[in-house]
Symmetry: C2
Subunit: 324 residues, 2 copies
């Protein structure tokens, strides 16, 4: 885990993130050594971001550093795990100190926010910028949120608003610059997704299944349905949409983006009806809010109902993968 001629993790990240008592050995040996407190399990996730695939090439380095950690923190949120440590494997086209300094600032700011310590990493030279973050979180008393734990009768909730980041991505692909306050808001949502870690932990004890929306609402909800062997009905008129999103799309009834675009990193949570009021009450203290968009049902498949109470033919709308 060292590369002496190019040991940038050590240079830019030692003492740049939280310093935790449960880290016996941090950056600088063949491996890090950490201690998991008793009564806790360890949640482990890994995500890779590649330039021009996962973010526009011209994205600010602070935003890349931020997002690389944010998408992994989002996985911890989706598990109901409290983030503890991370490692970082960086592949860099060149040794640009200024870029790295800014990248580490974006990463470190978010790490501090969630009390996370970077405990190790690896830097290699390669033609394409690539960032792999591995994250570790603690789950108390087997209270993790599994994709397989949804039950018929659960309500389906989402945090925040949907489609913002997806629309920003479309603008970027069409080479439209974010010039208005609305499009700047959307671009901010793409570049600086807010991992819903604190929100997820606040709901501990109330949640059955959870997943973060990285591939799109329909795709990610389908993972829960498949793994829980249940079905669902979604009410598309209940989808939470931000004012900038609504004013930026040509037809406000076009729900393709909020239904299928990823990158929002909001959470889908299934919560039994009995906890409905408690969950809403807890979430009142969080800015992002919590919106009920449907129900988990025994009957397999995913059904979408529009504002006229008509079933949307998902296949006709190009959502072949989600056809029941």
């Amino acid at each position: 885990m060292s590369s002496p001629e190019f040991n940038l993790i050590e240079k830019f990240f030692t003492h740049a993130t939280a310093e935790r008592d449960d880290v016996t050995l941090g950056i600088g040996d063949d491996a890090a050594i950490v201690d998991v407190p008793s009564g806790h399990s360890l949640a482990i996730a890994v995500d890779t971001l590649i330039s021009s695939v996962h973010f526009p090439k011209e994205t600010a380095p602070e935003a890349i550093g931020y997002k690389a950690l944010a998408v992994n923190l989002s996985d911890m949120a989706a598990m109901g795990a409290k983030p503890a440590w991370a490692t970082l494997a960086l592949t860099l086209p060149d040794n640009d100190s200024l870029w790295l300094k800014k990248f580490s600032q974006g990463f470190s700011e978010l790490a501090h926010q969630f009390g996370l310590q970077l405990i190790g990493g690896d830097t290699t030279r390669g033609s394409v910028l690539s960032i792999t973050v591995q994250i570790f979180g603690l789950i108390k008393n087997n209270q993790g949120y599994l994709r397989s734990a949804a039950q018929p009768g659960d309500l389906i909730y989402v945090t925040g608003t949907l489609g913002d980041a997806g629309l920003a991505l479309k603008h970027w692909q069409a080479e439209l610059k974010p010039t208005t306050s609305d499009t700047q808001f959307l671009r901010q949502r793409l570049d600086y997704p807010k991992p819903r870690v604190t929100e997820a932990l606040a709901l501990q004890g109330l949640v059955h299944a959870a997943i973060d929306i990285s591939d799109g609402l329909l795709a990610d909800l389908s993972h829960i349905l498949d793994q829980s062997q249940v079905g669902a009905t979604l009410h598309t008129d209940k989808l939470p949409l931000s004012p900038p999103f609504k004013s930026s799309i040509s037809k406000t009834d076009d729900l393709t983006v909020p239904l299928t675009a990823g990158d929002d990193y909001e959470l889908i949570l299934t919560i039994p009806q009995i906890h409905q009021n408690r969950a809403q009450h807890i979430m009142n203290s969080f800015e992002c809010g919590l919106t009920c968009i449907g129900n988990i049902e025994k009957q397999s498949g995913l059904r979408c109902i529009n504002s006229n109470n008509q079933t949307i033919n998902l296949k006709q709308h190009g959502f072949d993968h989600f056809e029941t």
Copy 2:
């Protein structure tokens, strides 16, 4: 941690590695969940291999899968940790099922050998093949081998032989094909390094400091010396060299490769003199052997003595970095 359109980790690796009781949730959710047994700390390492940087582009996929895990297992060996789990982040230029099948075979074979379970991963499409493996090992009762733990009076040992992989790399760079049994042996050492995990664990209780040789003997020993704030004398006539290595270099007294080439993934271990006989006795049962090549000393710096008992001027030989 999912990518439904391209979820190859799940396809090729579920049930392909060991199945461990301490894994509550493996591949297929936002994160894996594992349990660390009480009395144990967790060692965590990460290493990235990039095509044409860390291995020749034409390397067999089985060898790439093998090596990606081997170099990480080697980090566990260097910590005195027992390997438990791993995750895999793959960036692939294309969706070549045959390549992936062979890659997973090389990876899985080695995983089974060490009782290691792959618990998660991420696959992304990118122009350059890149493999990041994250590995987790268990350390009992704080018995990890730290780079900072060498003490004056310790003997310096290495496992196996040095320079084999480095010479194979030189041959590859000069576009020399491995056609003789000697050059085939060397290439085997480059493509299929043997992580010294079992050897390292067998020596538990006897070792002060350890590191694996990934950057070269002088460079890696220097890490121990720096972090332990000690010095050392090496006897170059004691360096263990394989018969194929000796017969393949033009001047048998040219020690540049075994002193500076990486890729052997043998271990440097510092062991107090009092444990010398016990360590040698234990290692008699391992094919790779254990060779004493020098001493840890209070005086800082690294001194190399040749067979005529003369100090080698490292700077004159181009080893500027290691000059005392």
